[in-house]
Symmetry: C2
Subunit: 273 residues, 2 copies
């Protein structure tokens, strides 16, 4: 999905909500554990219920890898299912990858450009620490996006991301440098919602790029503050909620309750668009 | 494998060589492609041939993920095979992971503490950008190691890792800060061999920690320089070679040629120990 299509979907569905598929066998309703593939069954039900309210889905790879190859198979089935169900979904692999050039090329192949729909994402999150040649291989896939970590929503963001480099902080330098590598048609940034006051600093450097904002809900960020400092003329925001939606309930009603939570956020978002 | 055991194996086998299992279907001998699981068959042959000369094996996850769940299955079989074959192998998942706390816990479960041997590594490489709470969940596994990226061997290392933070460079600050999180019994660092002149700076900050040195061979680093600046009283080095060993030949003799290359390096290493 390119930038024009992404903006069109936002305006059509009146939402910039991303549902985080952080599917954890210890947190899903226990009756699902009797199924052959509980992770896939859970994801399928969540997608069916929340699709009217969601722009994007974002599985975090950690939750699938921790189940070994079977977890990866559940994820491939999920991606396939979403792709079959709708063309209007932006699909983000939250993987935070990054390695030397020839290895990043392998990672890029893992997420982009598969001939079938097994692992056919629109975007992947990438860590910036290893620099340009660790990011570029992902950008070779011209129909796909890199979502580069800039300022994350966790406490550890203070350890390095906010260190002073001259009169800037490291995350600002990451923005300044990396915006030379690709324009707003291929590059997005992760900016934690718990750092909403710093969004205006981010917007000074990257006014046009889409920002992926995790941390609304369970991690404590406020949608209002994110919109106030982050919204641009093309929306420019993809706001993620994971636990607050997918684990709103753990009875047989879990999917309905997930839909309610997603709709609540979507209604708020519609007002801002 | 704890630090004491690791040092014992180094002294017993007279080697600190790590063989990088960056197994790429487009580079392995073509006759293997007829087998049911070419990746596993290749790895098995490489391990059988190089085991007398190797301290460690380091599969890079990217090469397996790019094959989808089947690649992960080949990797699990490889790990199982190595574990059954020898107790004297240090096994590193080169994954460069790191995420917010509860997600890093999932990654830690992916690599450590599995009840069977499916994914039972000694160590995992971790990216530092997200800070302390992204690294700590790995350190909860007291029998396992974090290998934190400090200074990598690629050109992009200059983009951020070498930026000045006061009178230090970022990679030095990463060393200073992270050595508070765990001692030399659980923390190692990645330091690129192409940066051998900077190894003495690294040793000033972390004299006792083991360093994982990629980039000897194909990436252009020299073993002599690495030993000169990096060796400490407990050896303190694990030096990786991937392509130079595993792709030394792509005929039916590939395993023998890999053994020869590994032995050549091991013989040099024995002189330094």
């Amino acid at each position: 999905m390119n930038r024009k299509q992404l903006i069109a979907v936002i305006n059509k569905k009146k939402t910039f909500l991303c549902v985080g598929l952080d599917t954890d066998l210890t947190k899903i309703p226990t009756f699902l554990l009797e199924k052959d593939d509980p992770i896939f069954e859970f994801n399928k039900a969540i997608v069916d219920a929340t699709l009217p309210f969601a722009l994007a889905y974002k599985p975090n790879l950690a939750f699938y890898e921790s189940q070994g190859w079977k977890g990866l198979l559940s994820l491939e089935k999920t991606v396939q299912y979403i792709r079959q169900k709708s063309n209007d979904v932006f699909l983000i692999a939250d993987a935070k990858r990054g390695d030397i050039g020839n290895t990043s090329t392998q990672y890029a192949k893992s997420f982009f450009g598969q001939e079938d729909n097994r692992l056919n994402y629109d975007a992947v999150t990438v860590a910036p620490y290893m620099g340009e040649d660790s990011v570029k291989p992902f950008l070779e896939f011209k129909d796909n996006w890199v979502v580069l970590l800039a300022l994350t929503s966790n406490k550890g963001a203070d350890n390095f991301q906010r260190l002073p480099i001259g009169n800037k902080q490291l995350f600002e330098q990451v923005l300044e440098t990396s915006k030379q590598w690709a324009d707003e048609k291929q590059m997005m940034y992760v900016v934690g919602a718990t750092q909403a006051d710093m969004l205006s600093q981010v917007r000074n450097i990257v006014p046009d790029n889409f920002l992926l904002i995790p941390g609304v809900g369970a991690q404590g960020g406020s949608l209002e503050a994110v919109v106030k400092y982050g919204l641009n003329n093309d929306c420019g925001l993809i706001v993620n909620s994971s636990r607050g939606i997918i684990y709103a309930d753990n009875t047989k009603d879990f999917a309905d309750r997930a839909a309610q939570e997603a709709e609540k956020i979507q209604k708020q978002m519609a007002l801002y668009l």
